[in-house]
């Protein structure tokens, strides 16, 4: 779709990142002496998304949905199999060598595990100076030190922290150092991969607040990747929900949570535990059965049809739905489901799904109730 709309790329000056039909397939090899490729894990399989300057795009999904791989492919930390990643007009997916390295100044990453992502043998100062040096931003000892002190202050650490080593800090402080490292080269985009999930609950809020304050002050653009929907909703302007390598729904954060259209989004939202007993007691749960199918042999048609409680017989298992704006939804709300409107309007109701054991995916149809809308049961009504 978007490939023909080159005009928008030129006119839309607000656009910072445009990912088009990106795919990352990892080969599965076997054999001891001579490795041969016996298949591919389709970690990311045809993802398109746009991120505007100054906004926060949230990417949610469960483990194995490819969200981290997508983030790393955008940063060119893994090589995309196909598709393009336009960053401020430059296709990062085809960059190599020195031009790519210099480009890295403009997009940075914050990691999930702040301890393992900081070299244990480098002091904080040397970790940060390294970034300055790598991009020729170093202006000599005194100026650098002043800059780093300022940076430390921005992330809420004392300048004494510069002389210390990563293992001497607590988890939250380490994450602040990780953020400072990303900031030291003055990037436009920061990809934060599960920035708070390794931290204690009471510390998570500190880091989330820090991220939003930095965004306000520095005009940063964020791509936040997380499995925690509440965290993503809190920080994001727009949210994309991923399932098995593809985005199944994309909407402004408020719309997505108030009016989820994709069955998977609905299930995900209903599964998030809320720290409020009243809500917990009253809410209607959509429990998914079974496990995530293997991304090496994704189901045909709609990837979610094997677990979907609203699955229909007509084309769910044959035709892969594309992201589209459904009738009656906002212009920015896109969903990849054939029956989104019917489900929203209650014309299709939920039915039981027999759990399917997932170990070696057969690739064939599911063990769900045979077929036909007649089998849809009236549950919870």
């Amino acid at each position: 779709m978007t490939s023909t709309e080159n005009a928008t790329t030129v006119t839309d000056t607000d656009l910072l990142l445009e990912v088009d039909d990106l795919a990352v397939h990892f080969p599965i090899t076997s054999g001891v002496l001579f490795e041969r490729t016996v298949g591919h894990v389709r970690a990311v399989d045809g993802v398109s998304l746009r991120v505007h300057r100054g906004e926060t795009y949230g990417l949610v999904g469960e483990s194995g949905c490819g969200k981290s791989t997508l983030g790393r492919a955008i940063l060119r930390l893994v090589d995309p199999t196909s598709g393009s990643v336009l960053f401020d007009g430059t296709d990062v997916a085809t960059l190599k060598g020195e031009p790519l390295r210099r480009m890295r100044r403009r997009f940075q990453m914050v990691f999930q595990d702040p301890l393992s992502s900081l070299d244990p043998r480098q002091s904080v100062e040397s970790l940060l100076t390294e970034g300055l040096r790598a991009h020729g931003l170093s202006r000599g000892g005194e100026a650098d030190r002043a800059r780093l002190t300022e940076l430390m202050d921005a992330v809420g650490l004392p300048s004494g922290a510069l002389r210390r080593y990563p293992h001497e800090f607590s988890g939250g402080q380490r994450q602040r150092i990780g953020i400072a490292r990303a900031l030291c080269v003055e990037p436009d985009l920061i990809v934060a991969d599960e920035p708070v999930s390794a931290l204690d609950v009471s510390v998570q809020a500190q880091v989330l607040n820090l991220l939003s304050r930095l965004q306000r002050e520095l005009g940063l653009t964020y791509l936040v990747i997380a499995h925690d929907l509440a965290v993503v909703r809190h920080v994001s302007d727009r949210v994309g929900v991923m399932y098995l390598g593809g985005i199944v729904e994309e909407a402004p954060a408020g719309d997505l949570y108030s009016d989820p259209l994709h069955p998977y989004t609905r299930a995900l939202l209903s599964a998030v535990p809320v720290p409020d007993p009243q809500v917990e007691d009253d809410r209607e749960r959509i429990l998914l059965t079974g496990d995530l199918p293997s991304p090496a042999a994704p189901p045909s048609g709609c990837r979610f049809h094997t677990r979907c409680p609203w699955r229909q017989a007509d084309r769910c298992d044959t035709e892969r739905p594309q992201l589209r704006v459904p009738e009656g939804a906002g212009p920015e709300h896109r969903v990849a489901c054939h029956h989104a409107e019917a489900i929203r309007d209650g014309r299709i109701t939920r039915h039981e799904v027999a759990p399917e054991a997932v170990d070696q995916s057969s690739g064939t149809g599911p063990a769900a109730p045979e077929q036909g809308g007649s089998l849809t049961e009236f549950l919870g009504r």
Binding site: A205, Q206, A230, R233, P273, P275, P277, L292, V358
Partner: protein, 335 residues
């Protein structure tokens, strides 16, 4: 909430009194992981232990089960279970109780299942040893159990090895093993932390059903207040090795009195909260503690700190079935 007939009126099923665990290391000061914890669990009740890393919740469960490493930790206090002090039992007697009366589910199902033994065999072993079943009956029962915990195609799954199962299925298998001997108490230590949200919802639903159905009591150890809110009857909030607040869950979440509980509940982003507002974060980290002997451990991070907090250990006050350890609690009216 509580299943009918579960409360037999003979007093609590598990009564932990003044439990303390102290780790000693040569040449270094002792670490007090659990510092005089007391709580009880009624038959059929679901009790939560909530806290962040280092609050002593996991050490508490290991101490109750007698699973702490033999050398090193010094365990004090009493753990009364069905009339016996578990801490005073011999190793073999405790092992017997562990198999029969106490079941345990851990965070990481892969490392707590034996990787070279089929799941079914691990269940039948427990059945033949503790319930005296013969091989054949045990196998049938194992299949029933696997079916009960929602494992598809249980007759085939009996022969599966742990690595052939997904994370959610392994956790189900582990629950099946823990339930095999119809324990009166199930201890679940972060049973859903390693799982995805949708799988977590399945497992929590399963635990909820099992408690209602079998009348087993459940001790739920977690860092996730959301999990606690939907599952537990009573909640103990731990900080730095002590219980700082205990209340029935609706009351705890509606009117948290301890500043830590209050701050913790407030600092969690919620699906239904306003994202424009900045999260009220608790400053500092769990390492910024004062020693309980001379102060309130939470004082350095506490927004309601008053002079006394850094000088006097707050005592335990129990009022209207709420336990509180604070000099300057949040007023009951502000929620």
């Amino acid at each position: 909430m509580t299943p009918a007939g579960a409360r037999s009126g003979d007093g609590p099923l598990l009564d932990v009194r003044d439990l303390s665990v102290r780790f000693t290391r040569r040449g270094e000061p002792d670490t007090v992981a659990v510092d005089g914890i007391s709580f009880d669990i009624e038959p059929g009740e679901v009790v939560g232990l909530v806290g962040e890393s280092g609050c002593g919740k996991s050490v508490t469960s290991l101490a109750i089960m007698g699973l702490l490493p033999g050398r090193g930790p010094k365990v004090g206090g009493e753990v009364r279970f069905g009339g016996d002090d578990l801490l005073a039992l011999s190793d073999s007697a405790l092992r017997e109780r562990r198999g029969r009366d106490l079941g345990m589910v851990f965070q990481d199902p892969l490392s707590s299942l034996n990787p070279v033994v089929p799941v079914g065999v691990q269940i039948t072993e427990a059945l033949t040893r503790h319930r005296g079943m013969d091989k054949k009956a045990a196998r049938t029962e194992a299949i029933t159990l696997l079916e009960r915990v929602g494992i598809p195609d249980p007759a085939r799954r009996v022969t599966s090895y742990p690595h052939q199962m997904s994370g959610g299925m392994r956790q189900r298998a582990l629950i099946a093993i823990a339930l095999a001997c119809r324990p009166r108490l199930l201890i679940a230590d972060e049973p859903t932390t390693a799982l995805d949200v949708t799988i977590q919802a399945q497992i929590l639903e399963l635990l909820r059903e099992l408690v209602a159905e079998t009348g087993t009591a459940l001790m739920m150890i977690t860092h996730d207040l959301g999990v606690v809110a939907g599952l537990c009857d009573r909640v103990n909030v731990l900080y730095a090795g002590r219980i700082v607040e205990r209340a029935e869950r609706h009351r705890l979440f509606a009117t948290p009195r301890h500043p830590y509980t209050h701050g913790l509940i407030g600092s969690i982003p919620r699906l239904d909260s306003d994202p424009e507002l900045e999260l009220p974060a608790i400053p500092g980290s769990v390492n910024d503690n004062l020693p309980w002997d001379t102060a309130c451990a939470f004082a350095p991070r506490c927004p309601r700190e008053i002079g006394r907090c850094t000088e006097v250990t707050p005592g335990v006050e129990t009022a209207a079935s709420r336990l509180l350890r604070c000099h300057n609690p949040v007023p009951a009216t502000s929620a």
